[in-house]
Amino acid sequence: MTVHLQNSLWKLRTSSNALYKSVYRRCFSTQDVIEHRNRLFNNEQKRQKDNVGRIEKIEVRYLGLPSNETLIMNKNLSTPFNCAQHFSEAVCENAVLALINGKKLWDIHRPLEESCTLQLLHFKSQDPNLVNQAFWRTCSFLLGGVLQRILKENTGLHLHSFPYPSLKSGSFVHDISLNVDNWNPSAQDLKSMSIEMMKFATENHNIERLEVSHEIALEMFKDNPFKREQLPNISNQNKGVITLYRAGDHIDISKGPMISSTKYISKVKIPSVHKITKEDSNLYRVQGIALPSGFTLSAYAFDILGQRAKRLNTMYLPVESADPIHSDEAPSMQQRI
């Protein structure tokens, strides 16, 4: 589809919504859907930045190496990454996730809203559990993007959701729906999937966060029946605000937080895909394992993890036939995202 056509469609959309819908459904491929989503995302991001208006200053107290410092930053513009830039390149590289006021997790590329203390977290810090979870969540999130890239259009791919990250379950997962009945990917397919994910990681995208209103989110995910279902519940809980994340051109709903960039993902393996529903609907669970950069593991040890991730991960299954052991712990649908 040419740029010209896209522009005309954009105009069409703004003029009459109903007509646009019919056209959209007929001639928009998944690629076009993604582009449309990104355009909306960009517009909203720009709008929010413009709304900041007069720049106010906040005091950020930085704790950590090389030394504790107080920095004067811009409200709603400066991010923790900007703070790290004041120190050195090494500090920037090691900043994966921020901790604000010693309690709240904050994305590295999310603008700071008020004066606070700031700590930067890394995979190898003393207690990296929070970072590990953010990493695991990011992997799930990216897996959705990879599947969108790699699967053919006639498969009817719709991303369902990805659950709360659980390292102990042994794999990160992403649930998808297809119009294929019994998809049994070969070893080569799985391998190409993990290679695609590695490629995605090496593209080195910063992961952006954006809070949008319910309407815009609905507009973005109107082609996805599952998201359409989930959105009202989420917006009710969060006072009409929905959090979106973007890496490259892939956008999804998630509560966050996530790590700062895709470049921290070094070793990926996608060992299995399981069908998790019965015949009426085709929900699949794609499972994978990954390690952040700077972590080495022998091929044999990594294979042990891969073998374990082959089994179905029963954490927070979206259907009711979930494993009864985990049913108590499983949060509701809204919490899962």
Partner: protein, 300 residues
């Protein structure tokens, strides 16, 4: 903005100091761990003296000390073969300076056996390669013969006189007066009391005039008379020039030439039981043989 850049530089300069502090912090932890560990460690056992003393009696069981040429599997096979050979022939304890009588089967001689009496002037090499040299002066002709210790053609090794000399090698007897290496071919064996120390023969040898086979004056020999009277000025100067009095302080040179105590005890503990059994068998055999010989003499 300028101020900030300055600050960054300062911080980078301080970075080394802060790392140093981290080391200190960790080191406190490490020391504690080490202290705890050292309490648990027990003193290692010292090797038994009986084992390490076997090194004088059986020097050929110790491998050559160059690590590059050693292999534990090969050494073990070789030791087994050596002990197998020792079951067939009694290889007695002898040293450089002892007088031996050797009987071997010789395809060239008329009776197909041959024997030689002489003073042992050298023991060399290790394992199945170990060899020794005997020297004697017969009919005013100095003769030396080298034998492999584990040669299957050897029929009998008799020690006629068990003693040590002041030096490790008596090769200089070639250039000494012939009386020092002249031994009676029909010499009777001298029997030593069992368990006693091996006597050290401290004869000092007089040398023949030049020419010599080797530069004996440079070798620091103990069993040789003062050699200075043989030397001219040039040779005396050369002796001083080539002297290396610092060699005795070279600890690692010494170390690289030896097999360590731990390894020695490991080797000798492996062969200890079997070699003692073999020695006892040979003793009993010798007793039986003596009885058979002595009986007719008594009657006669």
């Amino acid at each position: 903005m300028l101020r900030k850049i300055c600050k960054v530089n300062l911080i980078q300069n301080n970075l080394i100091n802060s790392q140093y502090v981290i080391f200190r912090h960790l080191s406190a932890k490490a020391e504690l761990n080490e202290a705890a560990e050292s309490q648990e460690k027990k003193k290692t056992k010292k090797p038994k003296k009986a084992l390490t003393d076997m090194r004088f009696k059986y020097p050929e069981f110790l491998p050559q000390p160059d690590n590059r040429l050693r292999n534990p599997v090969l050494e073990r096979i070789m030791r087994k073969d050596m002990l197998d050979r020792r079951t067939q022939i009694n290889i007695p304890e002898f040293y450089v300076g002892s007088i031996l009588k050797l009987t071997i089967s010789d395809p060239h001689s008329q009776g197909k056996t041959n024997s030689f009496v002489g003073i042992c002037i050298q023991r060399d090499r290790t394992g199945l390669y170990s060899k020794f040299a005997l020297r004697n002066v017969i009919d005013h002709q100095g003769i030396e013969v080298m034998y492999d210790l584990y040669d299957p053609a050897i029929l009998k090794i008799e020690v006629l006189k068990l003693e040590k000399r002041l030096d490790d090698k008596l090769i200089y007897l070639k250039d000494a007066l012939p009386e020092y290496s002249t031994i009676d071919v029909n010499m009777e064996p001298e029997i030593l009391a069992e368990g006693g120390n091996i006597p050290v023969n401290d004869t000092v040898v007089k040398m023949k005039p030049f020419p010599w086979m080797q530069k004996w004056e440079r070798q620091g020999l103990k069993g040789v008379e003062d050699l200075d009277k043989h030397l001219n000025l040039w040779r005396k100067q050369q002796k001083v020039k080539h002297d290396s009095p610092w060699d005795k302080y070279d600890l690692m040179k010494e170390y690289r030439k030896t097999i360590t105590e731990e390894e020695q005890s490991e080797i000798f503990s492996e062969i200890f039981n079997r070699i003692n059994k073999i020695n006892e068998q040979h003793k009993q055999k010798a007793k039986a043989a003596r009885r058979t010989i002595s009986k007719p003499q008594n009657i006669g």
